[in-house]
Symmetry: C2
Subunit: 629 residues, 2 copies
C-alpha cells in the first residue's frame, strides 16, 4: 500500500478503537518496558475479564450442554507426537531474507503486497493481459509452493519493502517453538501449535471413559504457539494464543446428529464452493436443513456444529450480517478432508477466519495409530449378525522373526491386528506382484506374500472395528474477541470523542459501576453496600468515588462497555431511598430503591428482564443535560 | 529407602487412591500412547472439571471479592525479563550425572536418599557421633552449595541408585525451558518459570489503571514451566503446572490492611521460626490478630492473605488440621524478603508446600526498574507539606558525555532520576573516597564525585516518590488439587473396594447423576428432563442409562465424588411422580417430586439448604440392602 495514501475509513475506525483498547488496558503489548516483542500481547484487566467470560460461555454452550469430555494437556509436547501429526515436517511458512540485512519476511506477504501495489498503481501502465496475469497470481497465492513463489517474486522484481534490497529465494520455516525436555538436552520438544493433538493421543482412554460408545466429543481450551515469521495485524496474528477445540468422534457410516432438528431452521450466510466460483461471488442465507438436504454441507454433524457456532458467535455479540461460513475450495482442502467450512467475520482487516469446522475423516487417529503402534479404533456391534467375505491375514511369525529379529516385534503386532482396509490394500499389492510397505514402530517394513498369508473367507460378524471419523470445530478465541470488539465499538452520535462498547452483558468485563454523586461518607457507604450486594450476586462491579463529574464517570464506564451505572444521590440518603440506574446504549435512566437495585441488575444481566421491562416498571429519571453532553 | 521394605500405610493409601484417579481419568500421564514423558500429566474429564471449579472459586475468592486487577501474559518470555528477575542466572538445581550412563540426577535428592537409608539401616553400625553428623547434614541439605553438596556426596560415598556407578561432581542446571523467538534464531526466550514477572513488567500501566493509588493487587492464573531434572512424586513435581499468583503493591511505610478485622479472629496452625526451633517443634493454633500484635507475622497485609488463603483452602476441602503456615527460617529467606510463610498441607508425601506468601519488599520492581531503565514508582501526596533535608544530585553532563559518549545516555537518565536512597548511598561512597557503581542500560558505570555533585538542601515536599513493596501470595493449583484429593478420599466402612471422594459440592466435577432404574423409554425420558433442568440451573450432571444395578451406578458416581444421585423409578412414572435423591457420604435417601428435584439440588449445591434440611422436609426412602452393600 502506498504509504502516502490517506487512511481509509476502516483504518481510522481501527485506530480510534485501538486507542481506547490500549488506553483502558483491554490489552497491552507484552514486555513493554523492555521494548515489547512482536506477536505477544497481554490481556489487561478488562480484556482478561472479557476473555474469561467468553471462554466460560463457550464451555457452557459446547462442553456442558453437549456433555463433552474436557481435557487439559501440556503445551510442551515431545517430538514423536508432532512428527506423527505432520507438524514437524509440514507446519511451515515460506520465508525470504533480505540479502543485505538478513531480516526475515514471509514470501507470500511480500508477493501479495507487491502485486496489490502494482495493480493499484495508475502509473504502472499494465496491459490488460499483464493485469489479468497479476490478478491471477494474487488469487492463487496460497497454492504456490516454494518454486512457484520464487518464480513469481523474481518475475515481479520483488524487493524488501523497507530497504529495497534483494531477497533470497523462498525456503520453508517451521513455525513451531522448539525446546528440549529434561536435563540431557537430547529430547526434542515443541510448544504445541494446536490443542487438538492432546485429544487424539488420549482417544483410547476417552472412548473407554464414554463406555466404548460413539459418537462422543472431547474438547480442550488452552494456549497454542506459532513462531510467526513477522507478525503484524495486531491481535489477529500472534505467537501465543488461546484455542478452544472440539474433536467429535463419529462412525463414518452414520454422521447424522440426534440434535440436528434443533438447528436446522437457522439461516446463516453460507458461502459454498459454488457461490464462491459463480459470477456474483456472494454468500447466501440458507437454512442448515436445506444445506444438508441439497448436499451443500456434507453431513448433519458438520452442519450441527456450524449451527451451534453461529449461535455462539451471535450470542456473544458478533453481528450475524458480518458473519459467513465459507466452504474450502477443493484446492484448499487437505486430501483426507471430507468437507471444511470456516466461520469468517468481517472486520476492518477484511473477512477473518475465526473458527475452522472440518470433517477430517479418520486421518488423525490413523496417523497416531501408525506412529504409536496402538489401535485407535471403536467397535460397533451389529443389530443382527452379518455374514460377509472377510480377509484373514496370517503372519508367518518364524520367518518374520528370522528376517527382522527384535525389530520385527512391532511389525508382528501390526500384522496381527490388520484392518480389513489395510489387508485389502496389501492383497492388491501382492496380486500385482509387488511387496507392501507397512509402517510399524517408527520404521517401514517391506512385506512380501511369503511373510503374510491373506485369505478370503465367509465369516459371521457380530460387529466390526473401525477408525472413527473426526469432525473438528476449532475456535481462535483471541480473534473472536478482537472481531467482537470491532462489532461492539461505536462513538456517540452527538460526540465523536465519546467511545462506547456495546458489549452483551454476559461478555462485559464489569456488569455495573456504582457512583456516589459527591464525595460524602453516607453516599460512599451506600455505594459500598450496593457494590457488596452485586458481588454477592456474582456480578463483577466497581465503585468510583473520585467525585469527578457524573458525566465523566459515565463516559469512563461506557469505554469499558459497562452496561449499567448506578448513582447514589441526595434522594438515596434523605429522600425515598432510590438510586438512579442508567443503561449504557440508550443512556436512559430510572429510579430504583437502593435495596432492590442489585437484584434488578442481576435480572437484566441474566436476561430475565429487558431494559424495556425496567422502563415500564420504574419511574424515569431525566438525565441532567451535561451528563450525556 | 530399602526396596524390600513393605509399603507403609501411607503408601498403600496413595496407591489405592491413585488407582481410582487414573482409572477414572482424573488425570492421565501425558502422551501415553508414545510411552509418556516424566513430569507431564493431562487432566481428564473429571480432573479438568475440578480444576475449572477450583480456579473459578479462586477467582471469586481473591480477584472478584478484592477487586484485583487480573492480567494474562504469555508464557514465552524474552531473556531480558528473566535476566532482570534473576532466573537466568540463579534459577538452578544442582545436578550430578552417572559417570557411565550419563543419566542425570538431582544432587540433593541422591544425598537425601543416601542419608535416610544410612540412618535407617540397623546394619550400618553408626557411632552416635556419626549419626548426629548425618542427621545434621540431612537437616541442612537445602543450604548446601555445589561444593558443600559435592563434599557430602563424596564423604558418604553416594553412587547412582539404580546402576551403583560413580557420579560426577554437582553442577548447576538451569530449570527453564529455553527456546528462541522469531525466525532468525538469535532472540533467546524461555518459558516462564512463574507468572509473577508478567505482573511486575506491567506495574506502571496497572498503577495508572488504578488511578495512581496504592495499595492495589494484580493477579494472574496461568501455566508455568520448570524443566525438572528427574521429576518424581506424581502430581506434586511436574514440568508444566498452573499457578495463581497475586502481587499486592503497598506503601512500605503502611502495611496495614483495611479488611484485616474480617480475618483477625481466625486461628490457623502457625509454625513460626520460634516454634520450629524450640524443643517441641510443633505448630500452634493462634489468632492472626495476636500473631500480628506479637510481631510473629510481620504486618497486617501478610496476615490478611494468610487468613484469606486459610479460608480458601479449607473452603475447597483441605482439612484445617492438616494445614499449617510455616514461617521461613532466616537461612531460607532471600536477603530482601521482609517475611515469608508457606501454606503446607499434610499428605502421604509429608508436608507439602502449596502456597507461598512472601513480603518481598521492593526487590522485584527495583530489579526491573534497573534493567529496563524505567521508573517503577508510586507517588504519595503528603496530607501537609513537609520540610526535609533532601539530597539534590546534579550530574556533570558534559563530563559524562565526554567520558562515555553515546553509552552515557542511560547513565544520565538514571542520575537525573536518582532516588533519595541511591543518592544517600552514593554520597556515603564519595565520603569514603570511593567511586559508586551505577547500573544503567544493562551495564555498570563507575561514577566519581567529579561526575556527580550531591548537595544536601532543605526543601518543601508536597509528596514523595517511592518504590512500592510487594506482598506475593503464590498458589500451586495442581498441588492444592492433589492434596484435596488425598483429604477427600476414603473407602466405605463396610467395603474397602468402594472408593469415595467427599468433594465439596462446589468442587465436585459433576453435581448430580440421574439414573433411570431400568432401561425403559418413559424412565429414560424423565431422566433426560431432570438432566436438562439441572443443566439450565448451571449444574454439570450426567445421565447413566446403562441399566446396570443401581448399586453399581452409585458406586461409580461415588468414585467421581458426585454429591447427589437421582433415581427415576416406577413411582416416578405411575405413582406420585417422585424420584429418589441420595446423598453421597451418608448414603441416605429421600423422595422428591421429579419437577422439584433439580431446584432442591441447586439449593444444596449453593449452600442454601443442608442435607439435614432435606431429610427434615422430604419423606425418607429406605435404600434396598443391595444398593449400598
Amino acid at each position: 500500500k502506498d504509504a502516502k495514501a490517506p487512511p481509509s475509513a476502516k483504518e481510522l475506525f481501527r485506530a480510534a478503537m485501538t486507542n481506547v483498547l490500549e488506553r483502558r488496558l483491554f490489552f497491552i503489548p507484552s514486555f513493554k518496558i523492555y521494548g515489547s516483542v512482536a506477536g505477544f500481547y497481554d490481556f489487561g484487566p478488562p480484556g482478561c475479564a472479557i476473555k474469561q467470560n467468553v471462554t466460560q460461555l463457550w464451555r457452557q454452550h459446547f462442553i456442558l450442554e453437549e456433555s463433552m469430555l474436557e481435557v487439559e494437556c501440556p503445551a510442551v509436547t515431545p517430538e514423536a507426537v508432532l512428527k506423527a501429526s505432520g507438524h514437524v515436517d509440514r507446519f511451515t511458512d515460506f520465508m525470504v531474507t533480505d540479502m543485505k540485512t538478513g531480516e526475515c519476511h514471509r514470501a507470500d506477504h511480500l508477493l501479495k503486497a507487491a502485486l496489490e501495489a502494482l495493480l493499484e498503481d495508475p502509473k504502472a501502465g499494465l496491459t490488460p493481459e499483464k493485469k489479468t496475469e497479476a490478478e491471477d497470481v494474487l488469487a492463487r497465492i496460497d497454492e504456490l509452493d516454494s518454486i512457484g513463489l520464487g518464480t513469481a517474486l523474481t518475475r515481479y522484481g520483488v524487493k524488501t519493502p523497507d530497504t529495497k534490497n534483494d531477497i533470497s529465494a523462498p525456503f520453508p520455516f517451521n513455525l513451531m517453538f522448539r525446546t528440549s525436555i529434561g536435563p540431557k538436552g537430547d529430547a526434542v520438544g515443541y510448544l504445541r501449535p494446536e490443542t487438538a493433538q492432546g485429544i487424539f493421543v488420549n482417544f483410547k482412554d476417552l472412548l473407554y471413559y464414554n463406555g466404548g460408545k460413539l459418537p462422543f466429543a472431547a474438547a480442550q481450551i488452552g494456549q497454542s504457539y506459532r513462531n510467526e515469521i513477522s507478525p503484524r495485524a495486531g491481535l489477529l496474528r500472534v505467537r501465543e494464543f488461546t484455542q478452544a477445540e472440539i474433536e467429535h468422534f463419529v462412525n463414518p457410516d452414520d454422521k447424522d446428529h440426534p440434535k440436528f432438528e434443533s438447528i436446522q431452521q437457522l439461516k446463516p450466510l453460507l458461502f459454498s464452493q459454488e457461490l464462491q466460483t459463480n459470477e456474483t461471488k456472494q454468500p447466501e442465507a440458507m437454512s442448515l436443513g436445506d444445506a444438508v438436504t441439497n448436499k451443500i454441507i456434507a453431513n448433519q454433524t458438520l452442519a450441527y456444529f456450524i449451527g451451534r457456532t453461529y449461535l455462539f458467535l451471535v450470542g456473544i455479540g458478533i453481528s450475524p450480517k458480518r458473519l459467513r461460513f465459507r466452504q474450502h475450495l477443493p484446492n484448499e482442502m487437505a486430501h483426507y478432508a471430507a468437507d471444511c467450512w470456516d466461520a469468517e467475520v468481517e472486520c476492518s482487516y477484511g473477512w477473518v477466519e475465526c473458527v475452522g469446522l472440518a470433517d477430517r475423516s479418520a486421518y488423525d487417529l490413523r496417523a497416531h495409530s501408525d506412529a504409536s503402534n496402538q489401535a485407535l479404533e471403536a467397535y460397533e456391534k451389529f443389530p443382527e449378525p452379518r455374514f460377509a467375505q472377510v480377509l484373514v491375514a496370517k503372519p508367518e511369525k518364524a520367518k518374520i522373526g528370522k528376517l527382522y529379529k527384535k525389530e520385527g516385534k512391532p511389525l508382528l503386532e501390526k500384522l496381527d491386528n490388520l484392518s480389513q482396509e489395510d489387508a485389502a490394500c496389501m492383497k492388491k499389492s501382492f496380486g500385482e506382484g509387488k511387496p507392501a510397505t507397512v509402517s510399524a514402530g517408527g520404521r517401514d517394513f517391506e512385506v512380501t506374500p511369503d511373510l503374510l498369508d491373506i485369505q478370503e473367507k465367509e465369516e459371521k460378524l457380530n460387529g466390526r472395528k473401525f477408525t472413527p471419523s473426526v469432525i473438528e470445530p476449532s475456535f481462535g478465541i483471541g480473534r473472536i474477541i478482537y472481531c467482537m470488539f470491532e462489532h461492539a465499538y461505536y462513538t456517540r452520535q452527538n460526540n465523536e470523542d465519546k467511545s462506547v462498547f456495546r458489549f452483551k452483558a454476559a461478555v462485559a468485563p464489569l456488569k455495573a459501576a456504582v457512583f456516589p454523586l459527591v464525595q460524602q461518607p453516607e453516599m460512599n457507604s451506600t455505594a459500598r453496600s450496593i457494590s457488596a450486594a452485586l458481588t454477592r450476586a456474582g456480578l463483577a462491579n466497581t465503585v468510583d468515588t473520585t467525585g469527578t463529574t457524573i458525566g465523566k464517570r459515565y463516559a469512563r464506564t461506557d469505554e469499558l462497555g459497562v452496561p449499567y451505572d448506578i448513582t447514589v444521590d441526595r434522594a438515596s440518603i434523605d429522600g425515598d431511598g432510590s438510586v438512579t440506574l442508567r443503561e449504557r446504549d440508550s443512556t436512559s435512566q430510572v429510579r430504583v430503591h437502593k435495596e432492590k437495585v442489585a437484584a434488578v441488575v442481576q435480572q437484566l444481566v441474566s436476561g430475565e428482564l429487558t431494559w424495556q421491562n425496567v422502563l415500564d416498571t420504574f419511574p424515569a429519571q431525566q438525565p441532567a443535560a451535561e451528563e450525556e453532553a
